[in-house]
Amino acid sequence: MSSLVLSPRSKTHTVRTTAIPGFGLTLGYTIVYLSLLVLIPLAGVFFKAAGLGFEGFWHVVSSPRVLAALKLSFGAALIGASINAVFGTLVAWVFVRYEFPGKRFFDAIIDLPFALPTAVAGIALTALYAGNGWIGQYLEPLGIKIAYTPLGVIVACTFIGLPFVVRTVQPVLQDAEKELEEAAASLGADRWQTITRVILPTVLPAVLTGFALAFARAVGEYGSIIFIAGNLPMVSEIAPLLIIIKLEEFDYAGATAVASAMLILSFILLLLVNGLQVWARKRHGGSR
């Protein structure tokens, strides 16, 4: 209906294309704000990384310590997001389908990882999962150490990604017609068949979306991880922390290289998940 171009008309006036005012003002403001805040600074990162040249970039990124950090960040995020995909779907299912005491309270508290500052989450998780912590003290005799190991990183990644899967799957389950299940049942499917062949395919795209969001969030996470991770180089040191360490050493180029590597990897992975999502939606005709 409207376009950025106001084409001149035969006479003196121009063609108006929409009755609603404020297009130039709001779009202009939006673009200026985004350019100043996002586009120009972000372009700067790549510019800086490009200044290293590919050799320099590779030299930084391929150093064992950086590789280990990237591997940990992405690996832990992937595992955390997977845990959330399973348990998040379970939680959403339980919330939508069952009645139990305290449901409203638990439903409200799901969003805690959005609202709780990450540093607070970090020290709280450490207090719980450290060797002398509330939960850690029971695990330690079993030989399971969580805090100050890669396991701790996974715990933190799970914490901050938890709401994403729940909140994307919940509305889809809510909208899913009970009739589908009844139809499956009427055709002779047992409960397990109904769940695996009818319900799960319906919510799969939403689960994948939640997974992607949780993963993206966890890869870049810093605050809730550094307290519980212990930050041992090569073992439990995450990529964002490495960026900060390099910055503190005034190795701006190195920091930028790690940051670019993270951005590129996240981008590729998100693209993959996006493709998977499109596939799932087409294949199963999910409701969202």
């Binding site: 409207s2 376009s3 950025l4 929409t18 009755a19 609603i20 005012p21 404020g22 003002l25 779009l27 939006t30 673009i31 985004l34 805040l37 996002v38 600074p41 972000l42 700067g44 990162v45 348990f87 339980v94 069952y98 409203r104 309270f105 638990f106 439903d107 409200a108 508290i109 805690l112 959005f114 609202a115 709780l116 500052p117 990450t118 607070v120 020290i123 998780l125 207090a127 719980l128 509330w134 939960i135 709401p163 909140r167 509305p171 009970k178 299940e181 499956a184 049942a185 499917a189 409960r191 993206a216 969030r217 890869v219 870049g220 810093y222 960026i243 900060i244 910055l247 005034f250 993270m262």
Partner: protein, 305 residues
Amino acid sequence: MSTVFDTTLQDPPGLPPEFGQGPLMRRNAAVTEVPWVRWTLILAALLFLLGFLFLPLIAVFVEALRNGFAAYFAAITEPDAWSAIRLTLLTAAIAVPLNLVFGVSAAWAITKFDFRGKSFLITLIDLPFSVSPVVAGLIYILIFGAHGWAGPWLMDHGIKVAFAAPGIVLATIFVTFPFIARELIPLMQEQGTEYEQAALSLGASGWQTFWRVTLPNIRWGLLYGVLLCNARAMGEFGAVSVISGHIRGQTNTMPLHVEILYNEYQFSAAFAVASLLALLALLTLGLKAWLEWRHGEELSASRKH
């Protein structure tokens, strides 16, 4: 926060009450689970939530009060803590209104008009969700740092951005700007443009239309977005940590102050300051739940973060 305790176990709704118990249960086995499966699932979900959400929250308050109330109050009233609180409030007081104007403006442009590049614009708005906060801090260091492009020039003119309050505000704005826009875009999309058209046809100007018609229609969604934006602005850690320089009493926000205390093994003091932030989070969640419960129909149906 209101909690409803439903003690009776219910079959899923939609079955007429006149069905007898026996046949109902058998018929129903195909569309719901037998009780032991149901309760196992509920238990598993709740245990998961307990370990990952509820206990951490409790831990904050318990640890904060470990050395008694006196120590607690001392920790949150000492000068450094106090200056961290002030800086946090100041940051939010600048970042939230700026992002509010941006969010409304972006949502207006995106939902009331069609133009090329719209989906790119929306992607751009979502960007901070997928960029590490540390990277967000880094990009501002690269520009405003002592070795950055604009840093030296600005410093020559007496303006300090990195390792100072302006940098903290900038990084906070970057990390929190999507929240309000993301809340408003789907909401305003659902509402369409008919109300605005009606107001204009009755002779209202653009501003009158916005203030008298659009704003009342989106007020709850806006409040919702502001709540989330504010919670994140006050609690942002990664981006702020990079750019602040951790100067005690000057460039420390509350989350950074928590980190410093924690690293100095002043655990109770760290948890005491953290408990203030946790209270803020609880307040946010409470208000959020209230909004969803009371004004749910005036929030966007496809709300997700």
